[in-house]
Symmetry: C2
Subunit: 353 residues, 2 copies
């Protein structure tokens, strides 16, 4: 397949890409709504079985014939230091008891890497995006041969250069502001680059389309990242209060407050940004670098806290500007944001003289 | 004086404000060049004697009749825990010896607060901006009565609300990306909000002109902050390599590299962003919250390291996108960036459809 037949973010009618939001909020209905409105919907393969991913892809295909993407987690190595995980598990026992839950099995897995790659090749979404690392040149070439555009999520200029060199079609530039997991290739040596700095650096240094991710909540935010050189904005937190998102009631409630966000490894063993709560405060100094082991360890406790409606035991992923999230139908929100972004650019042109 | 006679950033011919950059790089020549090009030049009162500030203001007035600003530090309280400063001083003795310097007297002062306010009222720059806190309603009212617009630097929505409530004319919104000191009102409880998130939050919540600061290096960056709702961009690091800036040779050299930046309290006892170096790495875990005591403690050592041309002993303040700094005359750079920002907005409008 010729390269120019692969899906490009520059072809979007509305320059809005839905963030995949693995682990709960993303649904086929949300992806379909964003895609049908003229943006790009996304499904999240992370944490799901290949069979569940297949089911969601088929459901999405039944809802829209327009382009969409699928996000995969690049596996990392098992934690070397099991004792730090065991210490952390002992520390969390009272938390589990508080919610009447058991701690989960702190196992390592690769999130079904090979099976999900095979599934992607078979079902051919228009785009596969990757987080938590960069796939090999061979993986990327195989997907592209199959007609799938490959986007790699990066958080620093160094990661961007790696992704370009192995053949990525576009880069998702994730700023420090972003809600949920940082996509850093190495969570032990993460960057802290804000989105606007990252976009300026990448657009000056690379000749690849950029999708800007992190704290973009409004038409002004979308206008800003386009002005900074991005082809589109990726929105996650902005969609958490839409009707189509499967955001839990406790999470929705917390998004209506104004507590600050912070980075934390407490829930999953990998840095992620969420609204600060009791669990984060009590364990922030002891959580090991051990993903996905800690994710599995805390998973039953988080499910029980969610069930109980207690935001203090849940990962309340949210980007830094989350108070600007709007309760709307997703398609209406996408169209509204697009219109506001055009207005913001027109106003900025007047100001720039 | 009627309020509408006070200087507004919306009146700028070119929406570029020079960051004051206390402690070295800023000069009357730099401020004059930015102002004469159509932006707003700034002088820094911080660390200087009132007599030196008077001399610089008079020099600047001899170079331009156009508007400019003066930046003041809002004093904080003396450190409560002298023992942590003494411990840190002992730790730094080998560093001082390395450069043949003595450690400085870790004294507290208020940076000549009352004298500098009196000087400002007397000499009447068009704008006074504040950092490290918010002045009282009375201080602000007095300056405004004297025909001086008051801008307060904020890093979170909470700080912005405080500044609005005491009568600030405009807010300098400083993102986490910014080089040099964080302007946080309380360095022990700082935010970590990125510029684009901060601008969206503040422009949605407040009806005050915003000046966007932090990592803005290019025309695209300026275009982005205008699109996000700012009236102007404040540039500091972007001007460090200009001919008019008094940036030291060792600092200029480091700006030509690509080492990452980090926040550090090691040089001054207050969080600031600089290019990572030996001194930051070796002392990052032991530096107390004690500003300006630690500033005075390390000052002779830094001067000696600067003299010796050793970047590993100097505070290499720089924003996150510093590799994009350009060696130019300041006026030429300001005009070039303005032209690029207009191009970036035109391109973004095409992309937004």
């Amino acid at each position: 397949m010729p390269e120019d037949a692969l899906f490009s973010p520059e072809a979007l009618e509305i320059p809005i890409v839905q963030a995949p939001m693995a682990g709960g909020p993303s649904t086929p209905a949300l992806a379909a709504a964003v895609t049908e409105a003229g943006g790009l919907g996304f499904l999240a393969a992370g944490y799901r079985t290949p069979a569940a991913v297949r089911g969601e892809l088929e459901e999405l295909r039944s809802l829209t014939s327009r382009p969409f993407g699928l996000n995969l987690f690049v596996p990392s190595s098992p934690a070397e230091d099991r004792s730090s995980i065991e210490r952390f598990a002992r520390e969390l026992e009272p938390d589990a008891r508080r919610y009447g839950a058991e701690l989960g099995d702190a196992r390592y897995d690769d999130d079904g890497w090979e099976d999900k790659l095979a599934l992607a090749s078979e079902l051919r979404p228009d785009v596969i995006s990757f987080a938590f690392g960069c796939p090999s040149r061979e993986v990327i070439a195989d997907l592209r041969e199959g007609g799938i555009a490959v986007w790699v999520t990066v958080t620093t200029p160094g990661e961007a250069a790696v992704a370009r060199d192995v053949g990525a079609d576009a880069l998702i530039a994730q700023g420090f502001e972003a809600g949920g997991h940082r996509a850093s290739f190495d969570d032990r040596h993460p960057g802290d680059v804000g989105l606007l700095a990252l976009l300026q650096l990448l657009s000056a240094e690379l000749d690849l389309p950029l999708i800007a991710s992190g704290g973009v909540m409004t038409g002004r935010g979308i206008a800003a990242v386009l002005a900074a050189g991005a082809a589109a904005a990726q929105l996650g937190t902005a969609l958490l209060l839409t009707a189509e998102a499967a955001t839990s009631p406790a999470h929705r409630g917390a998004l209506g407050g104004d507590v600050h966000t912070a980075l934390t490894r407490t829930f999953s063993g990998r840095s992620a940004r969420g609204i600060a709560n009791r669990f984060m405060r009590e364990h922030e100094h002891s959580a090991p670098h051990a993903y996905p082991e800690v994710h599995y360890l805390t998973s039953p406790m988080r499910a029980a806290a969610r069930e109980a409606g207690d935001p203090d035991g849940i990962n309340l992923w949210a980007g830094q500007a989350y108070p600007l999230a709007r309760e709307k139908d997703a398609a209406e929100l996408v169209r509204e944001l697009a219109e506001e972004s055009r207005q913001a650019l027109a106003e900025a042109e007047r100001r720039a003289g």
